[in-house]
């Protein structure tokens, strides 16, 4: 448990550095593009538009279920998914790609995954804002449920920190792990509820499988963000999901922090 605190303490101590580096990387990324950071908005919008065409219009996924228009449901879920997925994947290679650069200076390498997360926070808020606006325009009312977003955003940060440290450390040791994660994430996308409500699709005859899929942490976070803005549920409505999510995060955080501290002195030897 001490390991968790040791790694966490670096995140807190170097939080200003994390923000500055995130800002710098964002600027550097689009340095030679004339549209600059606009691409951070154009890309997700195009992606969401594609899903809307395919599932909303093409496959007639639904007009409104329970009075919630599909487009609002889709955009809010997609915003959360893109944030989680991008940060998650970027964090996985963040240490491996930067070890060379920072190995000869006094730099807390454990903040690298967090930097990747914070790079994506602003684009996330923008896409989420667009999603909420679309939902409101198409007739959804924001209620007290919206406050739950604070909790879910916090949960996202903890989740990304835990998995980021764990994945980034393992990737340094075994580069194949990154490929594996990439493959897994392609599956997780369909099970995360980002574009289709998988449980509803499976129907009552496969309710158990549907519920099993709903237990994955990505689903938990994405549906949580939807619950907040579409007022479809409270945090305490699903106690076993809460327990499963947090115990998973705790175990990953413990193992990830431990492995990170154990191996970080050797990162430079291994890359």
């Amino acid at each position: 448990m001490k390991q968790i605190w040791l790694v966490l303490r670096e995140q807190i101590k170097y939080f200003p550095v994390i923000l500055r580096l995130a800002r710098y990387e964002t600027r550097a990324k689009y340095m030679d593009h004339s549209l600059g950071v606009l691409w951070d908005i154009i890309n997700p919008v195009m992606q969401i538009a594609t899903y809307w065409l395919v599932f909303g219009v093409g496959l007639r996924q639904g007009g409104a279920t329970n009075g919630i228009p599909y487009i609002g449901w889709l955009v809010i879920g997609q915003a959360a998914w893109l944030f989680l997925n991008t940060s998650f994947m970027d964090a996985t290679w963040s240490i491996r790609n930067n070890v060379r650069q920072v190995s000869k200076m006094n730099f807390p390498i454990s903040i690298m995954p967090s930097v990747r997360t914070w790079i994506n926070v602003i684009p996330f808020f923008i896409t989420l804002g667009v999603g909420v606006a679309i939902a409101v325009v198409s007739g959804v009312h924001l209620t007290m449920h919206a406050w739950q977003f604070i909790y879910y955003f916090f949960a996202m940060l903890v989740f990304l920190h835990a998995l980021g440290i764990f994945n980034a450390t393992i990737t340094v040791l075994f580069p194949d792990y990154q490929q594996l994660i990439q493959t897994i994430m392609r599956f997780v996308f369909w099970f995360s509820g980002a574009v289709i409500d998988i449980a509803q699709k499976l129907g009552p005859s496969h309710a158990r499988i549907g519920r099993l899929i709903e237990m994955n942490p990505f689903y938990y976070l994405i549906s949580g963000v939807r619950d907040s803005f579409l007022s479809t549920g409270w945090i305490w409505d699903h106690p076993s999901q809460n327990i499963a999510f947090w115990s998973f995060v705790l175990v990953v955080l413990l193992l990830g922090s431990h492995l990170h501290l154990k191996f970080r002195a050797y990162f430079a030897d291994l890359v």
Binding site: R20, S103, N106, E214, M215, A244, V251, Y266, L270
Partner: protein, 365 residues
Amino acid sequence: MTEDMKTAVYEPNDPRGLNEPFLPVSVAKQLDLPGNQNTLNSPLKVSGRYITKEYDMGTSRNEKIQAILNPIKANKEKFWGLKGISFDVYEGDVVGVVGVNGSGKSTLLNILSGALVETSGRLKIKGQTSLLSVWDGLRDNLTGLENIRLKSLMMGLSNKEIDNQIDDIAEFSELGKFIKQPVKNYSSGMRSKLGFSIAVHQDPDIMIIDEALSVGDQTFTRKALNKMKEFKAAGKTIFFVSHALGQIEEFTDKTMWIQYGELRAYGDTKTILQEYKDWTKWYNQLDDDVKKSYVDARKQAQNDFNRDQLAERIAADRHLSDGEKKKIARDNAVGGRLSWWNWLIAFSGTGVMIYAVYLYMYLGR
């Protein structure tokens, strides 16, 4: 010369009369070397005791990972880059490090800067260290200015602090218009100028300079040396590696001579450099085959070195208390194992998760 003499391993008292000018001091007496004396009563800055670095000659990364995970189950091929080096360095010391290529100089400096971890031994450092190495830490696709900003950010400076000094750094680097060009277009001299300029503006307590001054042209080297003299005047501790003995002579007070992983001499620069030059002269006049057998024997000793030999050396040192000896002989390896109650948390956490999944899946709550 008979055939078997040619292949014979070099011995200090070789019948051919090749007596080496002086042999390394007994390892157990390293701390008696004159360099360790604190003549000015300054605070201790860096203190190393029997620092070793064991390189694993396993080629695949799996072998490397195995070596880290399980240091006891020894791999066949080992190479001891450092065989137990002890020294003290005080505030305001400027220490030159000399030695032939592959002697372990860079390994030692990398350990001092924290880039590598010593295999065993104890290293105490008071203050921030900064390794000045030209080739690392610059991103090729960013311009000079952007690299300055990025590196400064990583060193924890705020944007305001960077804005205040970025012009100074750019000017010091003498890159002119090239400062706005991507670093990939730089020559090696330009890179070294940029790296040096960034590093000297970070103001560390202990500065480690690894051959960085030998790349730039004469005028820049001069300027850089002057900058280093400012640091020296300000009482900073500096380690300085260079093959240019002139620079070492001009700039340092003490010199360490490291050879084949051992500290061979440590004392004031003049004496040590003279010894080093004598040795080089002696070595150069040897026949090629003798040179080869000399080097091979030393390298073989670095291969064959082991923990028992190290323990013997440590045991013979009269500067250390018994408690310290025990501590120093132990491997620094790999943070501990997960404690039993952490395992308990991990297992019970997994258990709780599985139970929660089961509850929801079967009972829907």
